[in-house]
Assembly symmetry: C2
């Protein structure tokens, strides 16, 4: 149990001891008088204007969007406007936006589409003499991702690889993929364009590299990768599948350059996949089947109450775009490491983070930081501090002061 007296009045050593016996949720019982949110990179508070429009929608737009009476028409109107706003956000057409339940689903839809796309390409190329190169291990759909992707990308890839390793499917290629995890540069923490291009083989059907990393804020060279992959596609044999390009843009919305897969900032969570002419220029193979919503690319009841947060005018849109850039540019990664206190440091950080400052820390060293070449013991004690548009200069001063106190106390104990 954590007392109500605040971090500075506690004896650090006994405190760490107490925490180790306390259930994780005991923080809930603590009296918190001063809390500063600095974890905008994990999630953002909901904008009061968004709360207002959602409340209105719950009262007025509760109808089935396919019905012809007012609460349904209002719901339909919300879907139309949200789609339009997102299209303007990414610089695409409204028809190119497919709403999903979130980024995880959007990313899984992309992987599923890539595998199906490969399967259909292979079927249509049957009888072609070039298709001989697609035998053995080389007949698996091949996917390229970076080694620092977000979980929904990394784990989907690993799951598909594991299916293969389990040997449950045998020599069948339908449900398995071959994946190349392109490492990032230890200097720039970015994937190198040349490394991505070098990984391409005749069975490559998808390149999926995140737009900006969620832990380091590093922006990947997506534009250059797109250009180079397009050149490869032009020179490809007719029997090889076209390489689809995808970027998980959960952390950043790119101006004027369409991307697919994003979260909503300063609103409730929902996903949207941007696809260039879905079903015609770019294939989309749905994950579910049902009532025809989202032109059958993603059926299921429309999440009107989440979408409504997107119904915004240009001024609010610009404000939010600027705020998103601010979040990315503002990530500060710190690591407090003292050899003697090794096992307890994270618990002390837990109090620093959980009680006074709300920011992200890691119980296990983040695979992303390790990929950047950061030593294990430093990565274990990393803190991620990120500011947003509600953060004031005073907030930053208080956090810096508090962090200095924590470090001093740790040093004294050392």
């Amino acid at each position: 149990y954590i007392g109500s007296s605040g971090l500075s009045q506690l004896n650090m050593k006994s405190f760490a001891f107490d925490l180790s016996h306390a259930p994780e949720c005991s923080l809930q019982n603590s009296f918190v008088c001063c809390r500063i949110y600095m974890d905008y990179n994990a999630t953002t508070p909901v904008d009061p204007e968004v709360v207002r429009v959602i409340t209105d929608a719950l009262t007025d737009a509760w109808g089935n969007p396919s019905s012809n009476y007012l609460p349904g028409l209002k719901a339909r109107d919300i879907i139309y406007h949200s789609r339009d706003t997102i299209a303007r956000m990414v610089g695409g057409k409204a028809e190119d936006i497919i709403f999903t339940s979130g980024g995880t689903e959007a990313n899984n839809l992309v992987f599923h589409t890539a595998v199906e796309h490969f399967r259909k390409s292979k079927t249509s190329a049957q009888g072609d003499t070039n298709s001989k190169q697609l035998n053995g291990r080389g007949s698996l759909p091949h996917i390229i991702i970076s080694s620092v992707e977000h979980d929904p990308i990394k784990l989907t890839a690993k799951h598909l690889l594991k299916e293969d390793l389990c040997g449950l499917i045998g020599p069948d290629w339908v449900l398995v993929v071959d994946v190349t995890f392109v490492p990032i540069s230890k200097v720039t923490a970015r994937v190198e364009v040349e490394d991505v291009i070098a990984a391409i083989c005749p069975t490559t059907c998808l390149v999926s590299i995140m737009l900006a990393n969620n832990e380091t804020g590093i922006i990947m060279p997506i534009k250059d990768i797109c250009q180079r992959v397009r050149e490869v596609n032009k020179q490809r044999a007719a029997s090889a599948p076209r390489i689809l390009l995808h970027t998980d843009a959960a952390q950043k919305i790119r101006d004027g350059n369409p991307v697919d897969g994003m979260f909503q900032f300063y609103g409730p969570r929902i996903g949207a996949l941007f696809v260039n002419d879905p079903g015609t220029t770019t294939p989309v193979y749905p994950l579910f089947f049902g009532g025809g919503q989202e032109r059958n690319f993603r059926p299921g009841y429309d999440m009107v109450y989440c979408m409504v947060g997107f119904c915004m005018d240009d001024e609010l849109l610009n404000r939010i775009k600027t705020s998103m850039l601010l979040i990315l540019k503002s990530i500060l990664l710190l690591s407090l490491y003292f050899s003697e206190l090794r096992t307890h440091t994270w618990k002390i950080l837990n109090v620093f983070c959980g009680n006074l400052v709300m920011c992200s820390h890691f119980l296990r060293p983040s695979h992303i930081l390790l990929s950047c070449g950061i030593p294990y013991h430093v990565a274990t004690n990393a803190l991620r501090i990120s500011v947003g548009r509600c953060t004031s200069r005073e907030d930053v001063d208080i956090v810096v002061e508090d962090l200095r106190d924590t470090v001093e106390q740790l040093e004294r104990m050392n």
Copy 2:
């Protein structure tokens, strides 16, 4: 364009003519002074108490549920309590509830699980002498559904069948299923237990029959089907897969008898799948991969703002349970059919339904009504009227009066 004068003052014939040229959404421009909602079976308004808790959650519980600071802890608390409420609603354990984005996803998860379950059973039975019976067409996973299932069930089944018909996969059994659509009785509009049991074959891996029909309100004999299928499972050869049982309970929540797949009434839409000991007693194979939410059975960010509508006390829970039964028992199906006006009747109904009374009508005859043996022309002009807990006796009187006026006008024109 529809004028503001209301149905009773309009000349029916010219009106029908006008409507045929008007875009579908022109109703939006009409001034509507008196509207009575009688389509509770399609969707329900959001309870004001639910609007309040959602607004509170948007303001206070916007944190990532896995974080340790207050807005995250509040989100975690909402997830915990919603799961508990639903478990009490269906008479199951909290651990048995898997939240999804809606009924469509929940139903698709069940089909995906059944096919994977069959695949793994077949793999583990390899070498068994009884597995010889699983050759040729008989090696496909077999699924039994009723002929009047809701779209997410019917279309998923049809999609899996179509994959087979396209011949794109060839003789591979991984992605294809064999489906039996059990017809309903023309007398009771129910599936007969004996018909379901008779359809079972050695490759049957799933029986999915809806709890209550969304158009007729007819409740299916799920309890008896469950009991009989359990007996079949007991007598099955070790090489045959256990038959999984599923019921789409979008229309009714069953007391004390666990079911899986339901929508939320009087709140925003969300899905929940009830599974008896998921991953141990009953297999669950996820559709997506990602950040570990819902114990990896359904990863993806938690829809806290939709779940919060489930955080209710026993009194509200009982009120809503009673209301759900009321909706089911209150479905009234009417058909206004006049041979001369055949092509225009639905447009007149559109006004009756869309302008004064909000209820469901069908542009094409419903396959469910046709399955019940209702003639094509009668099914085409069917109206579904359903009341809910906000419907007053006065509302019913007004609608009956208005319906009588409409019929009289139609008769005069005939």
